[in-house]
Amino acid sequence: MSTINLRELARKGPKLLPGHRHCSGCGVPVAVKLVLAAIDEPVVVVTATGCLQVATTIFPYTSWHVPWIHNAFENASATAAGIEAAFKALKKRGALGGGKIHVVVFGGDGGTYDIGFQSLSGAIERGHDFLYILYDNEAYMNTGIQRSGGTPFGAWTTTSPVGKLIPGKPQHKKPIADIIVAHRAPYVATATPAHWADLIMKVKKALSIEGPKFIHVLTPCPRGWRYDSSLSMEVCRLAVDTCYFPLWEHEKGIWRLTDRSLAIFKDPKLKKPVREFLRVQERFRHLLMPGNEGLIKEFQDYVDSVWSELVKRVQASN
């Protein structure tokens, strides 16, 4: 895999144009621009209902400078499957040239962990040739911050409020990327827009592989996570530095840590306590209050166990 030339990358025309209605500091358009910058071949983009869809296509405007479709909330993967099947059939009857057309899906956490999971699982089982990008802002942000299967333990949302009895979301995040690995998808990875070179390399690698590929991208949400909108990339870095969100890839049974997570693997002293990630976000404010030390410990224990499990897999792969 060649290295990425930032100057060349910057010269490419953007495929997500300015003027969209994403909130200031939103991690999503940054991630989308990086993903599309990694693609040089023809592409069709499918987007599930969510922030990305409504913020980019308010008629009569569109921000998409690539062929783009939105169908419904829970069916982005099936829509991609249909497009891929159409290309196969049209090629068979000579109505379309033989060149590669990538099909890339962007689905939020609601459209992926929850309502779109069946469609995603089915499309991966059938082996369609597409890349699924999960942009995970860890709640239903488009409808105003409701908890999803991707919301972390203890987080405040409007449907997992911090009450007298229940302190935020009682459950941990669904291990979505592991579940996709368990589908035997040929390529699965995690990424953040702050680790931009890592993200671009992963997209390029994914698109060089036939079959269903999945990249889980953490996209912080200043509105929902309650932090200053200038801090989105810093929040991404803290998520990785604390091993709350490790960067890895899985290909043909081999687990690899990448970028900063690889550095932490090599030098465990670099791993920061998860409190560092939590304390910059108001959605976790209550966890840091006196008397809630047990909740912080539970959070830290969970992060540690997931990280050590991942480290074991990486060691077993070598």
Binding site: F59, H70, T79, A81, G82, A86, K92, Q118, S119
Partner: protein
């Protein structure tokens, strides 16, 4: 007129055979009784390399129609089939298919909706989708199922229409009844329907006309958000397209007559004995054959009765129905679907509304029948005709009647 072969096919097989001949690029479906034979046969055609079709075996009907929407947006000719609960699961996507103006063809093998679960015929499933922006045909037998599937691609893909088409056939009564079906040679059908031709649209921000399909290159956006300032205009276009569809349906009916020697009235309605009838019964689907049979028997005895088959429910043939039925004294509307808490069945309401403005419109009586596959016997229809003849002479009866049910 082309030569033909006669094959023994049930309704489902007749649908699958038509699909095989129609150069379909993508089929995606999920098994459900009594539709399953359709997808089994198509799977066999694909497995044997008899078609170039990509068959996507999805994990639900929701995904089946989602695949069809994606494939159709990419310029493919697509087909799917379902019944009852499967159609209910597709619900939100029905509106998306028509809103995106995708010419998808779907066979719906009509089956009652749960609960209680039931696998037999009524029209509650597709009638419930009345307002989803799909053209709806109801066919009477396997022959008409075969013919209508072929016509459906021509109608859906006509550039003045571009709407999805639902071809409804009665579960078991049509889907599983083996009948001789005259099929056209493959090349005749293939030449008639051709391949899907994609419409060109002018895109202001590109400053040119482009094919409105996802081709990997042309930056078009499909499935955008349109709020109170534009949504209504998008939906008005579906209303207009539905209006244009009437003429296209008639045209395709005529073309198909040239091709096969078969036609179905004007394409929208067919009639038997209506011209001099005092009373007429109206039905959709397999019951249209039953009422015509009984009408013929009664006419032999000198009774002035007629039978009208509503072949096309959406678009509703308003002018054609008024023209045909305005001089009739009493009309019986046969509804194979329920609407609880309303005044009669869905067809009845539509007919009554249509004839309201006539100074001397026919008396209208609603006969709700056949729910959950309950038989409609010829003797039931004989009684209905006699009652209508009494109504024509001035007898008062209740307007809404449930036939063949234990009260």
């Amino acid at each position: 007129m082309a030569s033909y072969l006669t094959r023994a096919l049930n309704g489902d097989e007749a649908v699958a055979f038509a699909v095989k001949q129609c150069n379909v690029d993508v089929v995606s479906a999920y098994p459900i009784t009594p539709q399953t034979i359709i997808v089994e046969r198509i799977s066999e055609y694909v497995a044997n390399g008899e078609v170039h079709t990509e068959y996507v075996n999805v994990e639900s009907e929701h995904s089946a129609l989602s695949v069809c929407i994606g494939a159709s947006a990419a310029g493919a000719r697509v087909f799917t089939a379902t019944s009852s609960q499967g159609l209910a699961l597709m619900w939100e996507l029905l509106y998306i298919a028509s809103g995106l103006r995708l010419p998808i063809v779907m066979a719906v093998v009509n089956r009652a909706l749960s609960a209680p679960i039931n696998i037999h015929c009524d029209h509650g499933d597709s009638i419930g989708a009345r307002d989803a922006g799909w053209i709806q045909f109801y066919v009477e037998n396997p022959q008409e199922a075969y013919d209508t599937i072929i016509q459906a691609f021509k109608i859906a893909e006509d550039h003045s229409v571009l709407l999805p088409v639902m071809v409804n056939l009665d579960g078991f009564f049509v889907s599983h009844t083996l009948e001789p079906v005259k099929v056209l040679p493959d090349e005749v059908v293939s030449n008639y329907v051709g391949f899907r031709s994609n419409v060109k649209v002018y895109v202001p921000y590109l400053g040119k006309e482009v094919h409105a399909v996802l081709d990997g290159i042309t930056p078009i956006s499909l499935g955008i958000i349109a709020l109170s300032d534009y949504y209504y205009e998008f939906k008005m276009k579906v209303i207009k397209a539905m209006e244009s569809a009437k003429e296209v349906i008639k045209k395709v009916n005529d073309e198909f007559k040239e091709l096969s020697g078969r036609s179905y009235g004007d394409g929208l309605i067919t009639q038997y004995g209506v011209e001099d009838a005092d009373v007429v019964l109206v039905a959709m689907g397999s019951a249209a054959g039953t009422i015509r049979y009984v009408a013929r028997e009664l006419r032999r005895k000198g009774l002035k009765v007629g039978a009208l088959k509503l072949r096309c429910f959406r678009p509703f043939p308003t002018d054609e129905l008024i023209k045909t039925l305005r001089g009739v004294k009493a009309v019986g509307i046969m509804d194979r679907a329920l609407t609880s808490g309303g005044y009669g069945g869905p067809l009845f309401m539509e007919f009554r509304s249509l004839f309201y403005d006539l100074d001397e419109g026919p008396e209208m009586i609603n006969y709700i029948y056949g729910i959950g596959g309950r038989d409609l016997r010829p003797s039931d229809v004989v009684n209905i005709y006699h009652e209508l003849l009494d109504v024509a002479k001035g007898r008062e009866v209740s307007k809404v009647k449930y036939i063949g049910v234990r009260m």
